[in-house]
Every structure is written in C-alpha cells, then in structure tokens.
C-alpha cells in the first residue's frame, strides 16, 4: 500500500521534474532540445527553398507531392509558398532557434552553475518563460496550416505588405508576442540572478566571460524587445481592427483604393523593428563569444588575454548596439545628417568587436593548444565570425551600401555571423557542457566527423553569396533571379550553394547520432573532465537539484590556468589554496 502511494508520488513528480520543472537545468535542457528541433526545422525550410533556387520551376522529386496543391502543385513550388518558407526560415532561426538556444538553453543551464547559485532567482518565472516560448513556437508552427499559409512578408514583416498579407501574418504577430514575453521574463531573471545569487567571493571581474556575455545580453533583450512588442501589437491592430499605424492614406492595392483611414507610416515599423533587431544581432553573437572564450581558455590552458578590455568592449558593444539600427534603412530616403550619424556609430561599433576578436586570437599565443571537438568549433568560429564582421563594413557605409543593399551579399554577411559563427559556437558549447549535463562525454571521432564537413559546406554555401551579391543579384527572388540579365554571370552559383546546403544537412548526421547515442554510455565523465577552472565544474555531473553539494566559495579569477606557483595546470576558482602560495590567491 505504501509502495503504491510512493509510486503515485513519483508519477506526479515526473511531471514536475521533467515537464513543468522549475529547475534551471531542466529548463535549460528543455530550451536546448526545443531550439535544436526548430533549428533543424528552419534548416529544412531552407533546403526546400534551395531546390527552387537551384532548379527553378522544376518539380521536386519524391517528397514534392507531399506538400499539397496549394503549396507545391505537382511538386513545383508556388511563389506564395516560397515566400512563406523565406519568412519563416528567418523567424524560426532567429527567434525560435539561435536565441532560445544561446540564452534560454546555455544561459539557463550554465549561468547559475558558473556563479555558484542553487537556481535562478525566480524559478517559476523561468518555467513561465520556457512555456511562453513553447506556445510561441506552436503558434508559428501551426501558422503553416491556416488558410493562405504562414507569414510571407519576410522575417522583417515590412508593412504595408504585411498589413495586407493573408491570415498567417496575424499568427506570426501573436507568435512573436509570446516569444517576446518569453525573452523579457528570461532577461529579468538573468539580471537579478547574476547580481543577487553570486557565490561568496565572486566579484564581477572574477566572472567567467560567458556570464558577462549573458549579463549584457539580458540588458539588450530587456531594453530592445519592448519596442517590437509594441510594434507587433500595432500591426495586429492594423490587421484586425483596421487601425492605420503603418498605413498611409490613398493606397491603391491591385487597382482597389485601400479602405485604411491612413495617416500612418510604413517607416515607423522599420524603426521599431530594427530598434530591436539590431541589438538582437548582438543577442545572437554575445553568448557565442562567451562560449568561445570559455572553450579557448580551457583548451589553451592559459588565462584569456586582455580579459578586462574584453569585458569593457562587451559593455560598450552592448551600449552601441542601441544606436546603429538605422543602418538597415539607408535606402529609405534618409537624409545626409542621419546617415552620417548611423554610418559613424556603425564604424565605432566595429572597434570593440575587433578588440574582442583580437583578444581571443592572441589568447592562443603561448597556449598549449588541444584540438578537442569543442575547441575545433571554437577556433573555426574566429575566422568565420571575422568574415561576417568584415563584410559588414561595406554594408555599414551608406555609399557602398547602395550597390550591395538587399543583395545576396547581405545574406552572406549575416549568415557568416550567425551560421558558421554563432552556430559553431553553440556546437562548441554543446560538446563542452554535455558532460556536465549528462555525466557522459560525446564521441570525439563523431565530433570531428561533424566538424570538418560542416566547415567546408558552410563556406560552400555562404562564400558564393558574396560573389552573387557583388554582381548585384537581389535577395528574395522566387526564381533566383533567372530573368535578369545582370544575374547571368552569377546564376550558376545557386547550384553550388544548394548542393552545399544539402551536404551540410548530411554533415549533421554524426552530430545527431552522437547527441543521442552518447546518452547510452556509462556516466564516467566525472565532475571536471576538461580540468576546467570555473564553478560549474565544482558541481557533480549531472548536478542534482540545488546544484552543489555545498555552496562553493570563490577564491580567484576565472581562468587561472598554468599558474606558475601551482603544480597542476589549472587552479579552479572554487579551490581554497592547497598548494599555491597565499599571495597568489588575490587576482
């Protein structure tokens, strides 16, 4: 009888433990798995588009017929479906893939551990944040099945096009609002947790760089998302209640005089959207920089070079990211004073990025570099993010932007930042913290089989886009630009890109196998398999509820590797001075 009761209790706790959990680690893993699913889904959308771009108007063999006559009659893609795929690829990858993975996943799992906290400050808010994200994801996913299909006005959803689009756009807006709530709740939680729940001795300049990155990221989310929340609500009002926030008077759409009362401005949306979406770029990149810094310090076995200037650069970057947004809008008829301002801020923001990247490269100097799987991804991040950053220069200067604006050059540029950039850092993070989350190490062989083809195919996808962009090929063309004369010199690259994209999909198979098969291995990783210095490695692997068997105290800076007064090549933050001279304790 008591056994039965016990089982009943266990059954309840399964839901509380794994589904509606308030444990930051479970929520982090929920975020990670959900985000990985959406990344895969968003990638599939792109692979479909790549078929149409490589072979415009040709029937997609075998699976083409599955999509139905209103999307792909006889396997031939319709422009409306192409536009849906494009809009949803961007939305899913940014708002439901990378950000939830970087902040919701890694942030949730790692930050409380790295600061020596038993959990987040507001565990229930944390749970609510995940479920808002989940609901937003479901709404976005479901929108493919509403009449007229999903949103099709680009991930930027510029009105008036989005105001007059089919009902999928309404779903997009509601989905966005749920996702934004999720991010706002998460951001508040991170900020309070990082400030309030630090372990004794953990001063701000003893933070691991990853904690700093999440801290600055949270401020970006907290301050940049509300304008888009408001803008989404305005657009929803425009669509549902006939307001005209973004509709000027006297529009004639398909020969019909618009009934909108007018008085609004389409440019207002762009300002509100990019006021979020540029800081959002840094939300995508800062946690990635944080992960790369952790992995590099660990695998060079020496402290980060220029840690303090990296932190100051990070804070400056976060601040500047709020005043560069209109460089996305140079060609909207902007006056010369405005454009001069935004060009200047854009050039200024490149300086802290250069400092951080340089510091990471120079951190390698004097190291004893281990080419583990996480390190390979972290190292590849550096030149890939470098290309992404450098190609931002001609786009950030209004004059050279005239030729390159809205071409494939732009796509190549930001994908270098977020795909072989951020996503590689995310992979580095997964390989690096997987032992902490599961108690098991992932296979190094499969990891390398994942890394090398991914690196090659990533470049096979995005480098040709630079060539296409310089030739002047526009984005978002359903037929890939077939009818234009100027694209003819660059059209053949579409096939190279598409084949690389499908190759990239194959290159993820070792990762998927590795991710799941490693769960079946025995738990032999131990608490600190990488011989690391930061606090998360003080906890058992996987950490129990409450994280630490006893709450750690911090004695020194985050990356005391190869300290000259210490025999081992790492001196953890949480280790009271056993062998080191007392004087070495203060950083």
């Amino acid at each position: 009888m008591s056994d039965h009761e016990h089982e009943h209790h266990e059954e309840l706790s399964f839901w509380r433990k794994y589904v509606f959990s308030t444990d930051h680690k479970v929520i982090g893993i929920q975020y990670t798995v959900t985000a990985l699913f959406f990344l895969f889904f968003g990638f599939c959308l792109m692979m479909l588009m790549r078929w149409q771009l490589a072979f415009p108007g040709k029937a997609l063999p075998i699976i083409g017929a599955l999509f139905g006559a209103d999307r792909m009659p006889d396997g031939i893609m319709l422009p409306e479906f192409y536009n849906q795929l494009g809009a949803m690829h961007g939305t899913i990858m940014v708002f439901m893939g990378v950000v939830p993975l970087a902040v919701g996943g890694f942030g949730n799992f790692v930050v409380p551990l790295q600061i020596g906290a038993p959990d987040m400050t507001f565990p229930r808010l944390n749970m609510l944040s995940y479920w808002c994200y989940f609901v937003g994801g479901v709404i976005m996913f479901a929108s493919f099945f509403v009449p007229g299909g999903a949103a099709q006005s680009g991930w930027t959803s510029y009105p008036p096009l989005s105001d007059i689009a089919p009902s999928g756009q309404t779903w997009w807006l509601m989905g966005m609002m749920a996702l934004i709530f999720s991010s706002l709740l998460g951001a508040i939680n991170f900020i309070t947790t990082i400030i309030q729940l630090r372990a004794p001795g953990l001063t701000f300049f003893r933070f691991p760089f990853f904690v700093w990155a999440q801290f600055v990221t949270s401020f970006l989310l907290l301050l940049a998302f509300p304008p888009l929340q408001a803008a989404s609500f305005f657009q929803l009002m425009d669509r549902v209640f006939g307001t005209s926030f973004f509709m000027p008077e006297g529009l004639v759409i398909s020969g019909q005089l618009s009934e909108a009362t007018g008085g609004g401005s389409p440019i207002l949306w762009q300002h509100l959207f990019w006021f979020l979406a540029h800081p959002e770029v840094y939300v995508l990149i800062l946690p990635a920089l944080g992960i790369v810094a952790e992995v590099i310090a660990n695998n060079t076995r020496r402290p980060l070079w220029g840690y303090k200037s990296m932190v100051y650069s990070l804070i400056f970057l976060g601040f500047m990211s709020f005043i560069v947004w209109a460089h996305h809008m140079f060609l909207t008829g902007m006056g010369s004073a405005m454009s001069a301002f935004f060009q200047t801020t854009t050039m200024i923001i490149s300086i802290p990025s250069v400092i951080i990247l340089t510091a990471l490269i120079l951190s390698l100097w004097g190291g004893s570099i281990r080419f583990t799987t996480p390190m390979l991804f972290a190292l590849a991040f550096l030149p890939m993010f470098g290309i992404g950053g450098l190609t931002g220069l001609p786009l950030g200067l209004a004059s050279t932007d005239i030729h390159l604006h809205d071409t494939y050059y732009v796509i190549g540029h930001f994908h270098y930042v977020v795909a072989p950039g951020t996503l590689f850092a995310m992979f580095a993070g997964i390989y690096y913290w997987y032992p902490k989350a599961t108690g098991r190490k992932m296979s190094d062989f499969l990891g390398k089989l994942h890394f090398w083809p991914s690196l090659i195919f990533m470049n096979g996808i995005f480098m040709p886009m630079m060539i296409q962009g310089l030739a002047g090929m526009q984005r978002r063309l359903y037929d890939g630009g077939e009818i234009y004369a100027h694209t003819q010199t660059a059209l053949h690259w579409h096939k190279v890109i598409s084949i690389s994209a499908w190759g990239l999909a194959l290159a993820q198979i070792p990762f998927i196998i590795n991710f799941f098969a490693s769960l079946r291995k025995p738990k032999t990783a131990g608490d600190n398999p990488w011989h690391s210095t930061t606090l998360e490695w003080a906890a058992p692997s996987p950490p129990p509820h409450g994280n630490f068997t006893e709450l750690p105290t911090v004695y020194r800076a985050a990356y005391e590797y190869s300290h000259p007064d210490h025999d081992e090549d790492y001196l953890p933050q949480f280790q009271a001075d056993a062998q080191a001279k007392p004087a070495a304790a203060t950083p």
Partner: protein, 267 residues
C-alpha cells in the same frame, strides 16, 4: 580589383567613385583577413600541445595589437570622412534643379514601374488615387489639372537622355518596393505615402552598349525589396538616348496625346 570583385558594368558619372570606395573597403577587408588569418594559423601551429606542452601563464607581452586596432580605426575614419559621408551626401543633398535635369516621377506598384514625365511645359499634372484605372490610367493622372495635358506616362519603360542629370522622384502606390538600375549604381526604396528623389548622370547610351553586347542589351530596372508574389518578375527597362533621340522620343509621345481620346492610338 573591380574585375576581381566582379562588379557589373558601369554607366553613370558618380558610379566610378562608389566602385572605388567598394574596392577600397574590400582591400582593407582582405588585408585584415590575411594578417589575422596568417597570425592565427601560425599560432595554432606554433603553440599546439605537441610542440608546446606547457602553456605560458603570462602569454603575449607585446601590446602591438593596440596599434593594429588604432590602424583599423584610422582607416575607418578615412573611409567615412573621405568617401562614404561625402558620396552619400552628394546623392541626397545635391539633387539638381529641374532647370538642369530631366525630372521623372516613378510610381511603383505590384509589380510594375510607372513613369510620369511632365512634358514640354515642365509641370507635373496632379495625380489622385481615386482616378486610378489599371488599364487606362495606372497612376491616376488628372488630365484636367494644370500642366497635365502634355504629361506622358509609360509602364516599365524609362527613357532618359545621356550625359544629363536624371532626377527620379520615387514613390509607390501600394507597398514598399526598391528601385535600382545596376549600371547606374542607384538604388532606393519606393515608399507609399512618401516621395524621395534619386539622381544620376547616365554616361553610356543603350545603343553604345548594344554595339558592345549585341542587340539584346537593355538597362534593367529591378525591384530589390520583397513586395509580394510577383517581386521576382518586377522588372522594367531603361533606355538611355542621345539628347536628339530623347527629344524625338518625347515628340513622338506628344503626338499620341493630340486627340481628346487617347484610345485612338491604341486602335
């Protein structure tokens, strides 16, 4: 460098300076990438675990990198002040007056480019949305208004004289489009409810280009802002005439306007 970058043919006065700026930026990018890349590869080789089993706690002592960062900043200042800001300001601030330029209104719609010429009197007639008729009056021109009688409208055909500033007053009837003529190195969003000018001086006529590339050659007007299902086929053509040919074309267009009933021409 421009060959290496694969920039398309150029046929406008200001375009050469824009291309030069593009080349300069790319030189900087290549130089930085090569320097960083070489350093990166060298470090990976030199400090791999096999060769350097014990890491150095202090690491690099030199602060040479600060000079590198300053150099990048200086180069960016040069790009900004020397090229980008003046070049862009010239595009938006120095729009020539109607007396010395050909002024055309271009009104974008899903998925076509309408042109509106003021005719010999130089006065644009009024346009009103309620007069728009997809077939006969796509821009809603009020022929009764002042100066409208000699106005010329075309669809997807833009005619301009060579070596004379062309001012395009750009707007849209419905959603946001983006107007560009690649060889002229101009691109600007057409935003409903607003009108912005863009300007350039064409330097090569269509006929000269045809001598070079064959009779199929046309300057293309393209849309570079997603504007709906037909975005990919929103293409028009620009013809750059000699001044004499342009005048002849305008005269011919005028002759079609003579009668009360424009339909006469269309039979």
């Amino acid at each position: 460098m421009d060959r290496f970058l694969g920039l398309p043919d150029l046929a406008s006065e200001h375009g050469a300076r824009l291309d030069y700026a593009t080349e300069l930026v790319h030189w900087l990018m290549f130089a930085l990438f090569i320097i960083w890349g070489a350093l990166f590869v060298f470090i990976l080789f030199r400090f791999r675990q096999g060769r350097n089993p014990k890491a150095s706690y202090k690491g690099l002592q030199s602060h040479l990198s600060s000079y590198g960062e300053v150099a990048v900043a200086v180069f960016e200042v040069v790009l900004l002040l020397g090229f980008s800001i003046p070049l862009y300001s010239e595009r938006v601030d120095d729009v020539p007056d109607q007396s010395e330029a050909v002024v055309v209104r271009v009104i974008a719609e899903q998925f076509a480019w309408n042109s509106h010429y003021p005719g010999p009197d130089g006065i644009f007639g009024d346009t009103r949305p309620e007069l728009i008729d997809v077939e006969s009056n796509p821009i809603g021109l009020d022929r009764e208004s002042e100066g409208a009688a000699d106005d010329v409208t075309t669809v997807n055909q833009l005619h301009l004289p060579v070596d004379k500033p062309a001012v395009i007053r750009l707007s849209s009837k419905d959603v946001i489009h983006s107007f560009f003529i690649l060889a002229m190195r101009v691109k600007q969003d057409a935003i409903p409810g607003m009108e912005f000018p863009l300007w350039f001086v064409p330097t090569v006529t269509t006929n000269e280009m045809r001598e070079k590339y064959g009779d199929d050659f046309n300057y293309e007007i393209g849309c570079s802002q997603l504007c709906g299902l037909g975005h990919y086929r929103m293409r028009g053509f620009a013809t750059i005439h000699s001044q004499a040919d342009f005048d002849a074309w305008m005269e011919e267009e005028q002759s079609y306007l003579g009668g009360e009933d424009e339909d006469e021409f269309w039979g």
